[in-house]
Amino acid sequence: MYTVADLRKGLKIILDGDPYIVIAFDFAKPGKGQALYRTKMRNMINGTILDRTYRSGETFETASLEERTMQFLYKEDNTYHFMDNKNYEQIVINEDALGDAKNYLIDNLQVDVLLFRDKAIGVNLPNFVNLRVIKTDPWAKGDTSGSDSKPATVETGYTLRVPPFIEEGELITIDTRSGEYSTRVKG
């Protein structure tokens, strides 16, 4: 059980039977009035966003999500297949439930699969993943447009801005929290 005092970004609670994650939180107290806790929450199953304001004293059911380390196997149509390396059990997650995580899933990547009542509802990624660039324009030497980045598509189909010196076939590190280019992988 949580109270409003426990509210913070990233907290996972149960509302109306569904697991929600707090994505924004602020404390408010209009002059001489009572303390109010303003939250924005995302339904972890269907992605719906909720704005709710709570008063002190209110409590929440803890969302007990099981996390299991699994390996990403392959994608088939809109489903993503994962395997638990300890017992070889396989599970399937829909593209919608994965959200942006699908941009970083390459074969054999180890992730933490989140399970709610034995149903997989999402994954926790490593903060950084290495992905190969499969398409980007060559660096036009003498380009004087002053542009300091260009689009590049990586092997998962995800497109992001990279520095102009990145070439097709290179391996780059992406920060999965922001979705942005981090560094070039040397070698």
Partner: protein
């Protein structure tokens, strides 16, 4: 020992903060105010339903210097100001620190309208010192500090910004929620706003309006959606004050909160207090707004989490 990078980068902000506080002192000294210091640790804070003082041994760290400052008024001090730290348990957020800096000033020669003029003059003069040229600019928006600043009653604000009247909001017990969600974010967006005449029950130490006792002579100043100051024409009727404190104590009891002792010395001396008006201004928030910081954390050297 690693270098505290965050702290060293606050130098400019802390220098501006010191400059603002210096100007505030100059403003009040020139206005004939006496700067006072009252004890931070007190035996009996004013009973208020939604303000929780922090205990300090068997006493409390004051949530505001209000009671001692009014005892000074009762003893004949006509214009006083104080800059001091205050404590309120459980208040933490983008605009809240459990230990924060308050500026309070009191005058015996005016009602709450006079304090609105003081706010305008003070904030414009502080703005000049840090080079604001009567306007605040951020994220492509401009907030003009030129006077006169807008005045709107709480009741008008409910009519303008919400589908409820003030009376309906009170009756449905949604006053605070609507205020926070629908009204506050719209106050002070193009220029500072005074929102005034609060429901009588929302000003435990304020005088009721003589021609409409359903509201109190109380205002709040907002700039850019942020509540900066709370002011009222002071209640000077000691019997009425005692009965309101008792009512606040009962509310606390019903909410399961600690009930602290009645401030007897204050009540005894209140009957000697001449008509007066007083105001409490959150200094950290004012500095945050003037420096266009996005959080109160950015304008203090240390937050509680950094200690």
């Amino acid at each position: 020992m690693t270098h505290n990078w965050r702290l060293s980068h606050k130098r400019n902000v802390l220098a501006d903060r010191a400059c603002i506080i210096g100007e505030i002192r100059r403003f009040f000294n020139e206005g004939g105010y006496l700067e006072v210091e009252t004890p931070l640790r007190i035996p009996a804070p004013a009973p208020e339903s939604h303000i929780d003082p922090l205990p300090s041994a068997s006493w409390f760290l004051h949530p505001s210097p209000e009671l001692c400052m009014k005892r000074l008024l009762a003893a004949g001090y006509g214009r006083i100001f104080q800059i001091c730290h205050c404590w309120r348990a459980g208040e933490r957020g983008r605009l809240h620190l459990p230990e924060f800096t308050m500026l309070e000033w009191y005058r015996t020669d005016t009602g709450y309208y006079g304090l609105m003029d003081d706010c305008e003059a003070l904030i414009r003069s502080v703005g000049d010192v840090i080079g604001l040229k009567e306007r605040l600019v951020s994220r492509g928006r401009e907030i003009s500090l030129q006077g006169p600043w807008e005045k709107i009653t709480v009741s008008e604000a409910f009519n303008r910004y919400t589908p409820y009247t003030m009376a309906e909001a009170l009756q449905r017990d949604l006053f605070d929620e609507i205020m926070v969600r629908d009204i506050e974010p719209r106050l002070g967006i193009t220029g500072p706003v005074f929102i005034h005449d609060y429901p009588a029950a929302r000003g435990a130490l304020a005088r009721l309006k003589p021609d409409d006792p359903s509201v109190s002579e109380r205002f709040e100043l907002y700039i850019d959606g942020v509540e900066l100051a709370n002011a009222f024409t002071e209640l000077t009727d000691a019997a009425e004050q005692r009965s309101r404190f008792l009512h606040e104590q009962e509310t606390r009891l019903s909410l399961g909160k600690t009930v602290y002792p009645m401030p007897e010395k204050f009540l005894e001396e209140l009957s000697h207090m001449p008509p007066a008006a007083g105001i409490a201004l959150g200094l950290d928030r004012l500095i945050m707004i003037l420096l266009r910081a996005s959080s109160i954390d950015e304008v203090v050297a240390f937050t509680p989490e950094e200690l």
